[in-house]
């Protein structure tokens, strides 16, 4: 091979034996439109080979190119003084002080999880972990946001059981605690479940690794597992004519090997502690194609990949399969020249494959060789600059009419209504799920699932803690995407605040239907507008994210679900509070204004069987003012427990606090409050918190001084939840209803 690829550049690629003629059908099966194929021809100046076509197809897929979403994603605020790296790298990076950075991202594995729930979810976790440790971070926590179909749908139980086992199976083996998440059920997800996984890691700010390649001649190194025929997508047919072994002509599901990933993590971190890495990139979607391509493109360089040097798991693999395989647990590294042996020793110690598979060139071309022949030769810059970008037509969802609380029936039986809400699929305890996740490993979990609005994890070797959460209320987004987008960000910010931490930044996972439909594109646009506004007002930049489109089956789309993952910091973890009510005699104080918003509420859906009205509006200035106030009171040690109000409203939040801490309370709607009681207790007005305080008077006085609505509802104590004139329920009954639904559902048949 020539050293810099200049001579090979002119050589037309060699056709492989059995290489099919590219027909319009083959182009279509690669997901390229006729216009997109014309662009390919223009860039190449000739007909591409199969492997070249496969590369265009992968790089220009929605997944890799963000062609439908790009124009909108640009509207999200991504900067703040504490942002070290915003979107565009493997994960976002923020400064958390003391020379430390938090590195985090969320990613979907929706479709694979529907096809094969265990492996789909497991490899989703594996993928997001790699995104984070590629940048030099040791992962310290995982979260997962799950949406399943109607519990009554015949597939739901099987999907829940497989997805949860898969997430646990991978994260537990890796030794990363899974500390939080959310789980919803709705018929709109019957044919398209959502599995969004998030990882948070920590790295020294001066040792963060990026993907941009540098240094002509530097070796390109492949490490990790061998490459097999996993997940070679729409490309199935291509392999049909192409592969030698007819047995292999079926789509394969990616199988994860968390044991190898654990070794890969340790080996990479060991390598990163030396001084030999120029650039590093994990092989995720579109495997070797996107990783090598992105490294070269970001560095403005070219690359030669000698495909026959790639470690292979199966015999008879061809260049097409090697470039497009999505085998898991692999990484691509550009090393400093002459450090190959030093690096090799580390990977051999961890019993991982290590192979030099090429080098960087100055040609800005990707040249693929196969046993000495050139089989692919693509110019890199036009593939990036000429990539299709669509401004798809969009129509915004109009704001539905506001629902008058008077039109919503008052519960006939308050006890029954509360028990029904506490045991409905969306609100029932998810302990059946998180008990299958090791949430304690590493010994740093200060707030566990269900013990607070955000999980709280100590940063090793200090007093600092990171708070993390994931949130979205899809029914609000469906009703009015702008409001829903705003609300998802606000709730994440509120959840971080409720444990006493300072919200810092966001990662998002935009899950939507078919963007070629204007109403779906409108949902996307609306959600982004709402999110952008909320992020701006709350100083809560987006530093990473992921888009998953086409989540629809037979024309039925999912609820638009822009999942927000968020991270915040608390300097002294001992000051943090959870939501468990464990002491009698505390004042129960409601912070924020209650108008009694029942539109799109869970009360309306679960107790009245109606999904209608406008979702609760989010006043971001109020949100910020109320949250800053709550955080200040926590910092003053005036708060024993704090819970934000969200799904189910006030009464549900109070019940959750009481059963989690085993302490009851006696409360009442404040005298003179004219909101109808069902709207007061079940309304889902935003920007609200409940706090339990030993100095409630001081809190209320401070609130009024700050212009924050605050009112004393009653006091903690006893073993029942008592609401004057309305209900008295033993905590044991509430707890039983709350805890029983999911295990009962999962152990039933049919």
């Amino acid at each position: 091979m020539s050293g810099n690829g200049v001579s090979v550049e002119k050589n037309p690629p060699v056709k492989l034996p059995n290489e099919p003629v590219i027909t319009p059908q083959i182009v279509a099966e690669h997901g390229l439109s006729p216009e997109e194929y014309q662009r390919v021809l223009a860039i190449m100046g000739r007909t591409p080979t199969m492997v070249e076509l496969g590369i265009f197809s992968a790089m220009w897929s929605e997944h890799c190119s963000y062609k439908s979403s790009k124009v909108w994603l640009k509207k999200l605020p991504t900067k703040a003084p504490w942002v070290i790296q915003g979107p565009g790298e493997n994960a976002g990076v923020i400064d958390i002080g003391d020379g430390q950075a938090a590195i985090f991202k969320m990613e979907s594995h929706n479709h694979p999880s529907y096809i094969e729930p265990y492996q789909g979810a497991a490899t989703g976790v594996g993928g997001i972990l790699r995104d984070v440790f590629t940048m030099g971070a040791r992962p310290i926590a995982n979260l997962n946001a799950l949406r399943f179909g109607d519990p009554a749908h015949p597939k739901t139980r099987h999907l829940v059981s497989g997805v949860v086992a898969g997430i646990g199976g991978y994260g537990n083996c890796m030794g990363i605690p899974t500390v939080g998440g959310e789980t919803n059920f709705h018929a709109a997800y019957n044919g398209n479940i959502l599995v969004n996984a998030m990882t948070v890691g920590i790295a020294p700010t001066d040792r963060i690794f990026y993907a941009a390649a540098a240094g002509v001649g530097n070796p390109l190194v492949y490490v990790g597992s061998k490459t097999g025929r996993d997940g070679i997508h729409g490309a199935t047919m291509a392999s049909t004519e192409f592969s030698e072994d007819s047995e292999e002509k079926r789509p394969t599901v990616q199988v994860g090997d968390p044991f190898v990933e654990k070794l890969l993590l340790e080996a990479c971190l060991e390598l990163m502690a030396t001084d030999v890495i120029v650039a590093i990139q994990d092989m995720g979607a579109a495997g070797l194609t996107s990783s090598s391509f992105e490294m070269a493109a970001k560095g403005g360089l070219g690359v030669i990949v000698e495909l026959d040097k790639v470690p292979m798991r199966e015999t008879g693999m061809n260049p097409y399969e090697l470039m497009l395989s999505e085998s898991q647990e692999r990484m691509l590294i550009v090393l400093k020249p002459g450090t190959e042996e030093q690096a090799r020793k580390i990977f051999e110690k961890w019993e991982l494959d290590f192979a030099v598979i090429g080098h960087l060139t100055d040609t800005e071309r990707m040249v693929l060789s196969w046993h000495g022949d050139i089989v692919g030769n693509i110019p890199i810059p036009p593939l990036v600059t000429e990539a299709p970008v669509y401004e798809r037509p969009w129509t915004l969802t109009p704001l539905p009419a506001v629902l008058d609380a008077a039109s919503v029936p008052v519960p006939k039986d308050w006890r029954a209504s509360l028990l029904a809400l506490m045991s409905c699929p969306d609100l029932a305890s998810k302990s059946w799920i998180w008990h299958q996740y090791d949430h304690l490993i590493m010994g740093n979990t200060a707030i566990r699932p269900q013990d607070g609005d955000a999980a709280l994890v100590r940063v090793n070797g200090g007093h600092k803690g990171l708070a993390m959460t994931s949130d979205c209320t899809p029914r609000y987004v469906q009703a009015h995407p702008e409001t829903g987008g705003r609300q998802a960000v606000a709730e994440a910010w509120r959840n971080i605040t409720a444990v006493g931490a300072r919200p810092l930044a966001v990662t998002d996972n935009m899950n939507f239907g078919n963007p070629q439909k204007p109403e779906i594109m409108g949902q996307f646009a609306g959600a982004i507008m709402g999110m952008a506004e909320a992020c701006k007002v709350l100083d809560f930049p987006v530093v990473s994210g992921n888009v998953s489109l086409y989540n629809e089956t037979e024309g039925r789309p999912i609820l638009p679900t822009p999942t927000i993952g968020a991270v915040g910091v608390i300097e002294d973890i001992a000051k943090a509070v959870g939501s468990r009510l464990t002491q009698a005699g505390l004042g129960i104080v409601l912070i924020g204004e209650t108008q009694g918003w029942l539109g799109q509420s869970l009360y309306l859906r679960e107790a009245c069987g109606r999904e209608e009205g406008a979702p609760p509006p989010v006043d971001l200035a109020v949100e910020r003012r109320n949250g800053d106030f709550v955080r200040s009171q926590i910092a003053l040690d005036r708060v024993e427990a704090c819970h934000d109000l969200s799904d189910g409203g006030l009464l549900v939040a109070l019940a959750e606090m009481a059963i989690a801490g085993g302490t009851g309370m006696e409360i009442a709607q404040p005298a003179g409050n004219v909101v109808p009681s069902h709207a007061f207790f079940y309304g889902e007005d935003q920007g609200r918190y409940v706090i339990a305080s030993g100095s409630a008077d001081d809190v209320i006085e401070a609130a009024h001084a700050a212009g924050v609505p605050a009112v004393l509802l009653g006091y903690s104590g006893g073993a029942s939840l008592v609401v004057r004139d309305l209900l008295s329920l033993p905590l044991s009954d509430i707890k039983a209803a709350h805890e029983a639904w999911l295990p009962g559902y999962m152990s039933a048949t049919e």
Partner: protein
């Protein structure tokens, strides 16, 4: 009647367990061991005397529960 069911990974599907076993055997002084694949072996007692019927039922059990047909193959054997 007794039945024996073998559940094995389809060709081409990664078998992390088999790989680790092969590796371990090599290290333990068995260099002659090449590829290793691990599968499941399930023995069932059936209260059924009709072979054809038993087979059909077992087939259903495999598809419903015993095998994950996205990544696994299965084979059924009736004994006695």
């Amino acid at each position: 009647m007794k039945a024996r069911v073998h559940v094995t990974l389809k060709n081409g599907v990664l078998d992390p367990q088999g790989k680790a076993i092969g590796h371990s055997l090599n290290r333990l002084g068995f260099p002659e061991v090449g590829d290793v694949r691990q599968g499941k072996f399930i023995e069932l007692e059936l209260d059924e005397t009709d072979k054809a019927k038993a087979k059909a039922r077992l087939d259903e059990m495999c598809r419903k529960l015993l095998a994950n047909t996205v990544i696994e193959n299965y084979s059924i054997e009736l004994v006695g």
